[in-house]
Symmetry: C2
Subunit: 649 residues, 2 copies
Amino acid sequence: MNRNVVFTFFLFCFVTICRGSGTDIALDAKATLLHRIDSLNLLIYTCLLTLTVLTIWVFKHRRVSWLHETGLAVIYGLIVGAIIRYAGSTNHITHINVNPEPGTTYNLSVPPDMLRFHFPASLPITPGDSPIANKTYAYSFRGEIVNVEQNEIDLKATFDPEIFFNIILPPIIFHAGYCLKRKYFFRNLGAILTFAMVGTALSALVIGALMYGCVQLMPASLASSFTFLDTLYFGALISPTDPLTVLAIFSQLKVDVNLYAMIFGESVLNDAVALVLSGAIQNYETRYSHDGGFEISGFLGAIGDFIGIFSLSLLVGALMGCLTALMTKFTHVRDWPLLESALFVLMSYAAFLIAEVCELTGVVAVLFCGICQAHYTYNNLSSDSRNRTKQLFELLNFLAENFIFTYIGVSMFTFPKHHFDPWFIIAGFITSMLGRAVNIYPLSFLLNLGRKPPIPVNFQHMLFFSGLRGAMSFALAIRNTVSEARQAMLTTTSMIVIATVVLQGGAATHALDYLRIPTGQGSNEESEALPYRDVRSDTPRGGGDAGGGQKARLARVWGALDSRLLKPLLTHARPPLTETLPAFMRPVARLLTTTHQYTQGDNTLRRTDSDSDLCIDDPQIPSSIDPQQLWPGLVDTRISVEGITGSNI
Amino acid sequence: MNRNVVFTFFLFCFVTICRGSGTDIALDAKATLLHRIDSLNLLIYTCLLTLTVLTIWVFKHRRVSWLHETGLAVIYGLIVGAIIRYAGSTNHITHINVNPEPGTTYNLSVPPDMLRFHFPASLPITPGDSPIANKTYAYSFRGEIVNVEQNEIDLKATFDPEIFFNIILPPIIFHAGYCLKRKYFFRNLGAILTFAMVGTALSALVIGALMYGCVQLMPASLASSFTFLDTLYFGALISPTDPLTVLAIFSQLKVDVNLYAMIFGESVLNDAVALVLSGAIQNYETRYSHDGGFEISGFLGAIGDFIGIFSLSLLVGALMGCLTALMTKFTHVRDWPLLESALFVLMSYAAFLIAEVCELTGVVAVLFCGICQAHYTYNNLSSDSRNRTKQLFELLNFLAENFIFTYIGVSMFTFPKHHFDPWFIIAGFITSMLGRAVNIYPLSFLLNLGRKPPIPVNFQHMLFFSGLRGAMSFALAIRNTVSEARQAMLTTTSMIVIATVVLQGGAATHALDYLRIPTGQGSNEESEALPYRDVRSDTPRGGGDAGGGQKARLARVWGALDSRLLKPLLTHARPPLTETLPAFMRPVARLLTTTHQYTQGDNTLRRTDSDSDLCIDDPQIPSSIDPQQLWPGLVDTRISVEGITGSNI
C-alpha cells in the first residue's frame, strides 16, 4: 500500500520539473571526480599505513631490528610514489589567461581575492548537443605562478604543506612533551638546553655558511639563485634531529636512561628552536631586506624575534597547561572522565590556536603545554582520563608520524616541485654531517668542563650518530617551494631524511655495539645500576665550578618554587599551600587548598607519580632548602595543618 | 665565543641580499592574516566547546536535566554567533571581473579549472612608495555566483559544508554503530527496520508533498522557485531523527531498554536512509530531468540508485569490518595494542574512503563497519585495544557532536546564505511534525498486527516525541545552498533542529512522566524486570502470523549462520568451524580455526561479550535449529573436537 502512495505522488508531481543544463551536469560530474580523487589519495595513504602496521607487526614478531617503522613507512612510500608517478594517468588542469574587463577600477597593491569570469561569453565553444547558458563563476586566489612554462600543477597524492604544521605536527610534538620522562630530562637539562639552543643555532649557521661557500663553487646558474639567507634557512631547517628510530632501539635494548633523555630531550627542543629560528630568518628576509646593505637593526630584530616568539609561545603553552590544571583541580569534572578528557584535549588544542592567532608558534606552545599537562594536570586526572589521554595521543602520534614518513616517500616522486641538483645534494649531506659534529663535540667539551661525571666520548659519538633528520626538517622544506633554490633544498632535505632514517636507523644497533654503550639496563627507571647514574649536572655535588653552582642555585630555586608553590597550587600534592605560603597569605592559601590536600597522607599521591617528578623534587632536596631563601622573612615554618576543611565546590 | 662567530658570519654575508617587492610583502601579510582568521575561527569553536564542557559538568553536578549538552552547545553557539555578526568587523573580499585574453582558444563545456591573471598589468594602480612588478597569479575555480549583487562572500566562522560529511559525521556514525546494544537492537529489528526504512521514505514523501502544497499557496515569488523535487529533498533531509537528548535522559533514568533500542536503532538507521535517499533525489534531479515530463525510467533509476547505493555501501562497510576481524584473529598483532588500535582505526577509515571512491555513501559504510567491528573484531582485540578504541571513538563522537551543534547555533547568524521566509518556516515545522506522526502511528499499528507484545500506545507517543532533528538534517541542508529555495530550506532546518533539541530535549523528562513510561530499570541490562522484557518480534512465540513466522525464519537462519559460520570464522568464539562445517570442508576449517578456539572452555569467551551478542544467539536458540537446515545433507553433526593444533602464525 505504501508503495502505491509513493508512486502516485511521484506520478502526480514529476511533470512539474524542468531544470538543469549541460554545464551544470558537467560541473557536478567534475566536482564528484575531484572528490573521488581526494578520497583515493587518502585511501592510498590509509592502505600504506595499514601495510606498514602489518609489516611492523611481522618485524616485531620476528624480532627484526634493522628496520624501524618509520624507515618502513618511507620505503613503502617510495615504492608507491614511483608506481603512482610512472603508472598513473595525469589529471590535466585546464587553464586560460584572462585580462580585466575594460574600465575596471582597482587600486590596491595586492591582486584581488576573487575573479569573476563570465563563461562561455565570447569564448569560441564548438556547439555541442545543448547550448551553454552564460553564467558567472568565481575563482579564488591561489598564488603566484613562478614558472609559466611548467603549466600542469599536478596534484597527485599531495597535500597542502600547511597541513603538516596545523594537523600533523601538533599531536606529535604534544605527545613528545606529554610523555617526556621529566625526571631524567631535568637531570640533564643543562646538556639538553646547550645542545638544543646553542647547538642548533650553531649548526644552522655552520651549515648555512658552508653551503653558501659550496654554492659559490657551483655552476653560475645555481650560485646566482641562492642568497646567504637561503642557505642559512637551509641550515636552520636541516638542523633539528628526529631520532625516533634510534630511540625505539634504545628503549628496546634498555640503554642508559640519561643518554636516552639527552637525545630525546634535545630532539624535542631543537624542533621548536629550528621552527622559530627559520621563522625569524624568513621574517628578516621579508621585512628588512629591501635594500642590499647589512642592517644592524634588522639583525637585532631577527634575534629579538627569535627570543620573543620562542619565550612567548612557551608562556602561552605553559599558561594553558596550568589553567587546565586549575580547572581539573578545582572542579569535580573528574567524576565524568569523558568530560575531563574532552576538556584536556580542548585546552591543549586551544594553546596551539591561541599561539597561532597571536602570530606565535603553535607547535612550540603545544610542546610546553604538553610538558605542563604531564607535570601538573596529569596528577589531577581520574585514572580513566589518564589512560585515555595517554592512549589517545600515543595513537595520534603513531598515525601522524607514520603518515609523514610515508608522505616523504611518496612525495619524492609525486610532488611536482622537486629540483634534483647532484652537487647541492652532495654538499647538503656533507655539511649536515659537519653541522651535527659542530653541535656535539665542541659543546660536549664545554659542558664537560662543568659537569661531573662528564659525557663520555662514546656517548658523544652516539649523540652525533643520533642526528637523524625527520618530520620537522621535511615540513619546513616543503612549506615554501616558490623558487628553484627552495626546490633544491626540498629535494636535498627529503633525501637526507630518507637516507638517515633508513641507513642510520638500520645501523643503530651496530653503532651501540661498536661504541660499547652498555645495554640491558633494568626497565624500572628507578633502578640505576649503571655507573652513569649519578649525573646530576644541576645539583651541586662536591667541586662544581662557579657556573655549575649558578645553574644549580637556579634549578634549586625552581625546584623549591615548583614543589612549594606550583604543585600545591595546581595539583592535589602535599604540602598544601597553607604550609608553604607566608602567614599573611593564609586566607588565599586556604581558598586554593582542597580538602583532599589536607586529608591525604603525606606520601600517597607523591608516590603514584614519582616518575613524573623533577629530579630536583626528590625528598631530600627540598628539605635541604631553607624556606627563608624563597620567602625571605615571610615564612612561618611552624604553620601546621589546621582543621580547615576548605572544600572547593 | 659562539655569539661572536654568529655575528661575524651575519656581518660577512648579509651584504649579498637583495630581494622582495612591495607586493610580495603585502601578499605575505595577507596570507598570515588569513591564517590567523582561520585559527581564530577554530579558537572560537574550541572555547565554545570548553565552555560547553564546563557547563555540562556544572549541570551534571547540580543534576539539571532540562537542558542537555547538545541544547547547551546550540544556545552558546547562538549567543556567540549573534556577537560575531553584530560586533565583529567584516572582512571584505576584493574582486574584479575578467575577460579571456584576446585570441584564447578553449572549447570545453565546463569553465577552466584555473585562470591566470597578469597583475597589475593594465590596471590603473595609484603609484605608491614602490613600483609593483608585473607577475602572473593563479586563480582556482570555486563555483557559480548565483546572486551577482550579493557581492561579499563573508566567511566569518564558517566552514566548507563538505567537512561535515568527511570529518564530523563519520566518527559520530561509526560510534553509533560501534556502541549499538546489538542484543536489543536485533530483538527489535523488525520494528527498527520498519520505522527507519519504510518510515523515513514515507515521512519524506508526506513532508515533500505537503510542503509542495503549502508552497503553492504562498506568494508567487516563492512558489515558482520550488519544484516538487526540491520539497521532496526537504522531506528527505528533515526526516532523519537525532534523539541524543532524549536518549541521554533515557539512560540516566534507566528507561526500558527495548524502547531505548527502538529509538536509538531507528535514529542510527534513518540517518543512513535519509542520506542515501537525498542522494538519489539529487541524482534524479541532475540526471533525468532534462525534459519536463515524468520519466518512468528515471523514477525506477532513482529507486535503483537508492537500493543499490545503500546495499553496496552496507556491503563495503561490512566487508571491511570482517576483514579487520580476520586480521586481528589470524595475526598476533594483539600483542602490540598500539599497532592493533591503529589497524582498527585505519581499516574503519578505509571503509569510509573505499565507499567514497566507489561513489557510494561513506557514512553508511562506516555505520555498518562499526556494527561489524563491534560484533566480530571487538572479541579479538586485546583488552587494552578494546578500551582504547571505545574511549577514542567516545571522545571523538562527543567532540564532533558538540561541534556540530555549536556550529548550528553560530551559523544561524554568520552563515551568509540564510533566507528567512516565515511561511516556509511555519509550514516546515507543521509538516515535519506530521511526517513524524505518519511514520510512527500507522507503522506501529501495522507492526502490532504481528508483534507480541505490541508496542503500547504510550511508547508510540514517546517514539513520536523523540523525533528530534539534528546533525544529519543540518549537514544535508547546508551542503547545497545555491538557490533561494535551498537557502530557505537551510534556515527552516536550522530552526527546526534548534527548536526540537532545546524544547523537546528539555521537556523529555516531563514527557516520560506524562506518558507514564516506567523508569528506574536496573542498569544491568540482563535484569529484565519490566513486563515489556519479552518482546522478541523476530522469534516465533505462540501465535505469530505468517509474516512474523517468515521473518523469524530469516532471523533464525541468520542467527545460525552467524553463530556457526561467521563468529567461529571471524573470532575466537566456540564452537569452532571444525564442528560446524560439513565434513568435506574440514581441511579448510582446520586452517581457519585457531588453537585458542580448540583449547578454551566452551563459555569463557562467550560470557565476556554476552552484551554484544545477537538475541538470536542465545544458547537455547541455535541448539533448536537443525544443522540440516543450514547445510542440507552436508553436515556431519558428529564432528567432535579433534586433537588438531592448527596454530595460525
